[in-house]
Subunit: 251 residues, 8 copies
């Protein structure tokens, strides 16, 4: 309910076309209309064109089945992230029109082709092959958001010429998501080569003092290249949401 609708309702009350208690009841719920559309649409991502998203980590399989079933009814695109293979084995047979991606750990139904909503292309860059799972999560999230996305894998800084070959492609992107584990140096180098926003995603790839991605995260936060935005470890979904927000043409 926006201000115009509200004005109409009050005018109706003024004109005696609506009852006082009826209007009071509408106003009781008003703040939530002002802020969004009730609990079902509070997920900010939805307003960005994401469709329905379920974060499966820490949720039990039985609960997931109920939630996915409810969302599936809508006919909208539905994306379930962080769904491990064990839970997926139970859920897949129950949702035959969904597709499961093992490395990306997501279950998705791209029910309706979406119009392209972005200004340009989001380019996802990974340092190594072990970072691909996170890249796939980001990719599907952007697809569900109706954005153009492409992927450039395994161009880590130890062999810098592998990256330099793709300079033109890096510079053509509207937004870049750069994914790296271990020392997490790739976003620094990429951000030094382009003049577009870079979203850095640390991954848990590595061992010992990689500390499950903390080292990569710290490296990205302390980049000598200014203007990099960092998200949580392995958070491909969050990086894609931010990239989508940036790339999305405003209504």
């Amino acid at each position: 309910m926006d201000r115009d609708e509200l004005k109409a309702i009050l005018a109706a009350l003024q004109r005696g076309e609506r009852e006082l208690d009826e209007v009071l009841g509408l106003l009781d719920r008003m703040p939530y209309h002002d802020l969004g559309n009730a609990c079902l649409d509070t997920h900010r991502g939805l307003r960005s064109g994401l469709g329905e998203v379920v974060f499966a980590l820490d949720k039990e399989t039985a609960d997931l089945e109920v939630i996915i079933a409810a969302l599936a009814e809508s006919g909208e695109n539905v994306l379930v992230t962080r769904l491990d293979a064990e839970k997926a084995a139970v859920l897949r047979p129950k949702f035959p029109d969904f597709e499961y991606h093992e490395t990306g750990r997501y279950l998705v139904r791209l029910a309706r082709p979406r119009e392209d909503r972005g200004r340009g292309e989001v380019l996802i860059v990974t340092a190594g092959t072990a970072d691909l799972g996170v890249a796939y999560e980001a990719e599907i999230t952007l697809r569900v958001m109706g954005q153009k996305v492409s992927l450039l894998a395994d161009v880590g800084v130890a062999g810098i010429h592998r990256l330099l070959v793709h300079l033109e492609r890096l510079r053509a992107a509207e937004v870049l998501i750069v994914i790296a584990g271990m020392e997490g140096a790739l976003p620094s180098v990429v951000a030094g080569l382009v003049d577009r926003p870079v979203i850095a995603v640390p991954t848990s790839t590595g061992y010992g003092t990689a500390f499950g991605g903390v080292t990569a995260l710290l490296g990205m936060l302390n980049s000598c290249a200014a203007g990099i935005g960092v998200v949580n470890i392995d958070n491909g979904f969050g990086a894609a949401c931010l990239a989508g927000q940036i790339n999305r043409t405003r209504e």
Copy 2:
């Protein structure tokens, strides 16, 4: 030097209009032309319209004087960040056309008014008054970049209605920089209210287990609101660079 220029040079060599050694010399420098324009313009921020920027932390006063003097000659906008009061006391008298901001810890010369380069307005939001220094650093950086910027201070989550009053203004911004210390919860709440990119800046405000900003940083990285990009603690400059990249209309 792009491919067309290169083709022309080689053609000139072929036609005998250029000497072999002359061409060899041009090719020697080529990779750097491909990548940017020598060491002087390597600063990626520069290409984004930042003018000249000096990061004063860890630099000695004497060195700073030399660097600022060199940059001042250009007649361009010059920004010196993280300049503490002690160093500023020495440098200010030597650069009379510069202005020093104590809380923002920057020295600046806005030599030339810059055309507005952004799509919309960047809104800087702070949780408390103690976060203002970081906000001022972000603000001047965006000013130097030629972007529209405004500031909304002291709207932390402990009194949520202080923030809700400004809902319309929050939603009107093209990009938001949200700055908070202590538990760093403000970006989560703001991101839940808008559908534009949110850049979160943790600050070192607090004591005890605030751990100099680490707690605020962790809170921002783990936000339940998707799509927030985080920068280093107190890094107002970096947040502004990213916001500027996002907001900047592409040439």
Copy 3:
């Protein structure tokens, strides 16, 4: 044994009605009577009306069986917390009058309905569905203590209007237990809305830099809303004990 009983015993000695050695024997045990009632009732919670409680974590199944059997004899309420499914599978058949709650990980026998011992209602609030297990542990603990308790789930700060809908209910509670993982911002927002004690429980919900609940804990300790008491990660039991102490009418 209180001071009056002691006086009576000494007077009996004085009057020759008790033997010297008998009195000496009573005095030998006195300090423990002064401090509580022997080892069996040292658990402070018991004196608060908790009945018998067993913390099952780190205890072997065989030991648990012996302890529960002993407590079950009393006919009192018995609560076994942190009992994982594997141990529960062994123990449940042996205690048919007990009920096991899988998400709350507790085994309980509410043998006798307890009179209501609280001043008002304890309201348990959770940020997400993944925090429900901890909420259930707190709920059963308060039930066993004979207190009124209700639950408000999934009202995290990313969609702040979901919380604001319940403002009246939040303000009506005598004590609030607020449970949240990830950035743990919910207690800050709730404490800003009410003027009753808030007990904050960080949960291990989240991934990467959530660090198993440490980030939520730090957020809560650094809340910009004053007067929040924090307990250990996932410690629903401890939060309930404290809430019960606060809410309990004093004898």
Copy 4:
């Protein structure tokens, strides 16, 4: 504005006694009236009877002077916490009716004696003399809130009989604030002796692996005595706010 006032306004609109635009304007501000009374009273502590409180840490002396002067005009009690000696030296001469406490680091004006608002007495217990500064901050906060408070100092666990002497006094308190640095074991022992709420305050007293209070904090969070609420390191103010909330008789 409560629901009855709203009903009256809408009825007036219905009856034609108020203009449509006037009513719209009132509704625009409604949510904030629902939540409190504008920015000036957002401080939740205020509603708890705290009077005016200023947190001086991280604020500049000039700003503090302005804020205190504004608050002093009200004639209310005013409390400035975390004011170091250097800032106090500047501010004290300007506020002659204020008193400064060096160890407690606070500046206070108890303008009006406050009625006793608590159910019983809040007892503040410290492990050592080095914890007194934090105890004084808690004490003055409770005084400003109009609560009965007393102090029991230097009864740390290394000499347990020092504590046991005061058993009766410990048990008589309505709420206990227990303050300790180093290993922070005192709250565990005290909570084992009483059946009232215990608020534990870790202090930065100690050296080496005391880690500025982190060790004491961890000890308190992991207490084997259930039902202790913990606040940030050295946070005497926060502990007092919580104790005040608990002890306060409800209107």
Copy 5:
């Protein structure tokens, strides 16, 4: 080989009763005789009367079988610590004269009764039942060293009177090993009650911010009771070695 033996060998050389090369060969190995008895007896504990000890953690079962078999030939006492149930299931049938203790995770053969080598009794005190495994490791180690040892379990600080009952026994011990997890406060309280050496062992008992024993360790290192020696988390063996060194009468 001690100095007397060496003198005898050289005298034999002097008298022509030993060959030069034979003596040279003996001297080649001498440094090890000077420092101990070759690699097989380098374990310092051995010289303290421990017999043969094998630390099974991180060793493969096959390797353990070879080592134990070699030691078993000697007829001496043999102790294998940190042997988990899985490895023990393989090894037990092969060493029928050994006994395995599941909670203490050790395999032992007490081949020969050892004379009592201590000045007094070593008292092992635990805070809870979950600490018993570590206590059993310490107990068997002291038994193998030929020392008198007794155990006092489940006397944690939450019910301080449980501990005070045993004051006389605590004070009678020559050395005390105090084992506790969670907040690790017990050693502080015990050390305040006795005037004998206290060896504190933190255990990994607990959850959340217990951090696998780190909190207990920090508590013990920062004890307000002076003169406590701390060992690694769960290191019952190391505590027993130190207690044995202290209690052992010197030859």
Copy 6:
């Protein structure tokens, strides 16, 4: 008051030689007599022959003056530890019969020569010259306790032969205190060479990843030589108390 005294008092009550209320009054104070002698002698170190000790860290100079003056009246040995040069400059002129040691940061009056109370000699070993301050604190503490003590400095593991030269002296000691910063490896090596108790003291010597002594502490806790007791960083006093407890002949 021991059991015999108690029996006599009760018998007197029985015989009518004491009043009931008088006996009740005596019993009220009994627990504390059982546990020690009031607050003044709670310091466990005192009972170990330490005389009077004041820990000056975190105490204000004025308070220290009062405490030292009170203790000085007794004519006993008085030791003030962790007294920095600034405070010492104020206090020294007021206590002319006290001696201040700058590197050891202590103020001491050895009023009365003490008989030797130890079984043997305590040997203090340091890895480097920067560890001497901690060594001096340990040394004076042992002197005040009336124990024989000697010092072996600068024998760190980087030049292992410097240590081996002193093998005989190391093995002659009854107890060893081994002090080291940086990697803290010296206690491991020393403990491998002797069969007496080793107390390891990590120091804050070092830079970068020495982390103010944490690295040395961790090294000592994980020593591959069994049976080392560790104290807090720079805690020379605590190490000496423990060494004194071990070395002290029992009454």
Copy 7:
């Protein structure tokens, strides 16, 4: 392509012997020729004589099979590191000319005997038997690089004489790799005995505060013996690469 080749190509263009587009095409690829030889040989180790190396951690078995098959075709030496037993069970049957080492967790084909490429011998020293897996990884890496390597195991600092026996051998090595877990003191002692480069490898051997190798790592970084280079925890491969670089005779 070096500068001489480039000059020749341009001269041919000048002389009309090459086409303009052909030369442009060569120049397009030039930067990568300058930097190495395309993506396939970016692995710097390869240029050092390592042959083909695959890091199997975090790679799926199916992917590994494809990669190994591709490398196996070359006939070169192939080394697969960090291959756990489960993956190895699948892969071994498919590569019959490869050998799997369980403790060293590597799969290798030493197809061609390599000429000795080193100046001297690389000596690998381990503190304990639990460090052997890491030693084997280092050993095979050096073998594949064509270097002389030998192994000295179980000479930890707790029994220093075990190490001193081998002084001559230690001093004869050209480079030393010293591997240790727990307190990680061995590199300090070894570096004090030799005057050749020492590469220190911390291992995850240990428990409790060993923190999975972090303690050993910190010990090595803070060694009092100057000139030790440290690698990541358990990184035998990296240590061998560095040792190989050092020992390798330059072409």
Copy 8:
């Protein structure tokens, strides 16, 4: 004393030319002769050609004066590292033939030109100007060791072409010392470009989550380029010692 000398001594004993006790005395000291020559030459660096080095951190000025004076007598090169400006102000006038370097924080006397002792050149590379102090410490250390050294400053990864310009020079070096703060990515990139040993030095340059160099250190330990040896934060001296060991031609 080597084996031949020992044989001669024993033969003399056999022949009656030496007394038994005399021989015993010689054997007592033997191990230390085997290991080196007394405490004065234990510093391993000395044997590497370093001359005399004093580490001034944590040493008092008076002590430093004594030590430097003693060393200065020798006429050898003398290097004092980590000497802050305050101490230097006192010491410089007393040693007029020494030179002090403020940024490098060292005091040096290069008494005698040293012959070149290296195989090639050691190249020191820094990421930024703030890393120069550490570079100067490394440079002077190598000079004192008689090695060829050169410096390449300010070529951090944010502007990768700045580094690529110097590819030839990077590849010509025999050993490289790469110094970087912030995210510490430079060694990864450099190591990917050369095939010589790279020694990485993290510096404390940066703020917030740079954590005083810990982030740079972690980045270097987790480099995706194999074969980098890392030293402690800001440890230019240690890096130079290791580089010197590597580059030094063996006698």
